[in-house]
């Protein structure tokens, strides 16, 4: 059986990011918390977000964010780093992400 971190970490090109996926990704409070933390405190590995969900659940959300085009991930040693794709997203959806994150929950 194939488990573990095998998948080659595919990221969508920014011009292929669908508005549907972006909005669905941002429509979850846990995922918004991840994105807000990335904005507030910069790039971080998955394990440093301190959110009240199981590790496997968190992993699911990171995948959703990555596949929606919101974050870029890469491996560094045993950690997986995350960065926001804000600049890229701004070319296709100017101001949208900031606008959502500034909104009250």
């Amino acid at each position: 059986m194939v488990l573990g971190r095998w998948a080659p970490l595919s990221h969508p090109r920014i011009e292929d990011v669908a508005l549907d996926d972006l909005l669905r990704a941002l429509a979850d409070p846990t995922r918004r918390a991840i994105v807000r933390l990335l904005i507030a405190e910069g790039d971080r590995p998955c394990g440093t977000f301190g959110l009240p969900v199981a590790a496997s659940t968190l992993s699911h959300h990171f995948r959703a964010l990555r596949e929606a085009g919101l974050i870029r991930q890469w491996d560094e040693g045993r950690q997986r780093m995350n960065t926001l794709r804000l600049d890229e997203l701004a070319t296709r959806f100017p101001g949208l992400v900031e606008n959502v994150l500034d909104a009250p929950d």
Copy 2:
């Protein structure tokens, strides 16, 4: 059995509108099409949107938009009118709806 247009058409107060619900409502292309048409051509009854879905499906989407705080509905004769709650929404989520609707799909 109780069917037909009985429900008393409840609308959330704008301060009770949750970002989650708003984003989920806008994350559907049929619902975005409804909202875009309301912006482009003004208040309209449900039957005048010309979208390729069954009437019952459309009804489901109108309900979702109403309960998410995006539209206000009222009955006029046998038709049900729809208007965007743009001004109200702007007080709580400034620019958000416009930003989403201006985005490419």
